[in-house]
Amino acid sequence: MATIHDVMPAFELFQPTSIDDTLSLLERYRRSVWVLAGGLDSFDWLKDRNKRPQVVIDLSGVDALRGIKTLPDGGVEIGATTTLTEIANHSVIKEKFKLLSDAAGLVASPQIRNQGTLGGNVSQDTRCWYYRSGWTCYRAGGNICYADTTTSINREHALFDANRCVAVSPSDTAPALVALDAQMVVRNGDGERVVSAEEFFIGPAIDITRMTVMQPGDLLTAIRIPATWAGAKFYFEKVRDRQVWDFPLVNVASAVKVSGGNIQQARIVVNAVAAHPLRLRAVEDAVAGKAQNEETAKMAGELAVAGAEPLAHNGYKIPLMRNLVKRALRAEATS
């Protein structure tokens, strides 16, 4: 059971200054290693003593992982340890990909955004408090979900794609990255691979103990955002219990291309309703070619929640999600 201690258990700390050194360390220690970026998710786990790595690799000294640069195609590449504040305030991102700067600017609190990184925000673990209490649930390698029973406290949990585990992804930037068709650059000892943001996040059906495709030995080095959606009409909204320093109950990120009052193309992603950012493909297909008006927005909202399976205490998320999707597609919202 989780007990907050004043000090963390001992571990060996490495502070590499290059990506190659980091990869060597990851290769050497593989399964017993913990990668530390901003530390905001990590220190919870370590201080609660529910994760006890033998080795911690602190990425703060690796300059190559930090910074934002524009790409020849008009997109941007963001280093994985770039802080959320830098992203929220970056002029190019604000101009071309406001969806991401809006999402980054709504994460937690100013202090946390100053310390928290984009890589950390997309790689953070779920906030299911049964799981984080250190009990051996499915996600922790056991054989039960304590959150999915009639008596569980599960108002923050999943509406979609629950598969034994009902935990959700708590990230604000993840849905924005999926909507922007971002590419995640992952390196390990064997080389580099690029995974689309949509495929980067995985649900419990695929792997119940992980939330991303990252394997031991992998390092997320950068996030590339292509120019595909640059300058589109964006909408990001996050609903949370308090207006600062909180995780989303539901958030929505949309990118819409409109021509002559009609929606040409749209990408709509909702998070905190499944273990991964939920791209609403059926909604995207349904609104393509339709006039951007109240009727289309209403239809999109209804379609978005089709197939939702509420738990004992999270039924409120259905109207919440329906209305967020509806708002995301209203003309005035994305003008």
Partner: protein, 280 residues
């Protein structure tokens, strides 16, 4: 016991069993491979006793055997292949994700489990009322046959040859018994485990049993599943060995030739359909 089972902590701070140690899957795979290699070497290099492995049969009895001998009815073959398909699906969907192939396996797993359960119920009814129920179960005669065969293998022509088999040789019966024991562990536990996952057949109720009971159930299910990896490998290995192909063909087409019958079976121990009655 950490090499055998995995334990965890429940909200009441109790140590509970969670599942079998999945590293044992590698042990089962290694065992299966070693068995295949060992048996292949045995067949290739172990000397055949003078006079053959088994006693000859009387020409009079042999003459009564028809040209084609029916070995498995269509109903029995249908069961075998449905069971085989569901068993392979169960093993792949359970252990491939553990070995690194990640996919949405749970739904396929429980559906294959239901198919296996139905096929086993069908088999029990079919074997009880339409087949010779006791012909597949080990008995004292099989023990004697096993001992005689072993002596013949070790001592060669100095040991008396064992009789040829009845419908099912003793090693077939041993395999069937091992499968039955595994099924007794894996099927009921699997059905109970279905109440822990969302499916259209059972209402989800993770608190149907206490954590400790669930732990035993998951361990039993896992260990018997791991055992089935080795058993299935051995079964497939024998099914494709050249000298056993006649059995596999019999399971496909239903009958075997008179030649194969007389080489492996004793007409006195397995009185076949269509045999000419003895002259009085």
């Amino acid at each position: 016991m950490n090499w055998l089972v995995q334990t965890g902590l429940n909200p009441w701070n109790e140590q509970i069993l969670t599942h079998a140690q999945w590293n044992l899957v590698y042990a089962a795979l290694a065992f299966g491979v070693l068995f295949m290699v060992g048996h292949s070497l045995y067949v290739k290099f172990w000397p055949v006793p003078a006079g053959g492995h088994t006693a000859s049969i009387s020409p009079e009895l042999a003459a009564r055997v028809p040209e084609r001998v029916k070995r498995h009815s269509l109903a029995a073959r249908a069961f075998h292949w449905i069971m085989a398909a569901s068993m392979l699906t169960l093993l792949i969907t359970s252990f491939a994700p553990i070995l690194g192939w990640k996919f949405d396996w749970v739904q396929w797993h429980w559906m294959a489990g239901i198919a296996l359960t139905i096929s086993i119920i069908y088999h029990i009814i079919h074997a009880s009322f339409w087949l010779d129920f006791w012909s597949i179960w080990l008995n004292k005669e099989d023990a004697n046959e096993a001992i005689t065969r072993f002596k013949r293998s070790i001592m060669g022509g100095q040991a008396a040859p064992p009789r040829k088999a009845a419908k099912y040789p003793w090693d077939n019966k041993m395999y069937h018994t091992a499968i039955v024991l595994s099924a007794l562990a894996v099927v009921p536990t699997g059905l109970f485990m279905m109440v822990r996952v969302r499916n259209p057949l059972f209402a989800r109720n993770p608190y149907l049993f206490a954590d400790s009971t669930w732990g035993v159930m998951y361990v039993l299910h896992g260990l018997s599943g791991i055992g089935l990896v080795g058993l299935t490998m051995a079964h497939i290995y024998f099914a494709i060995r050249p000298e056993k192909l006649w059995i596999t063909k019999g399971m496909v087409f239903g009958d075997i030739s008179k030649q194969d019958f007389l080489k492996h079976h004793d007409p006195a121990r397995w009185v076949v359909e269509g045999a000419t009655p003895p002259k009085s």
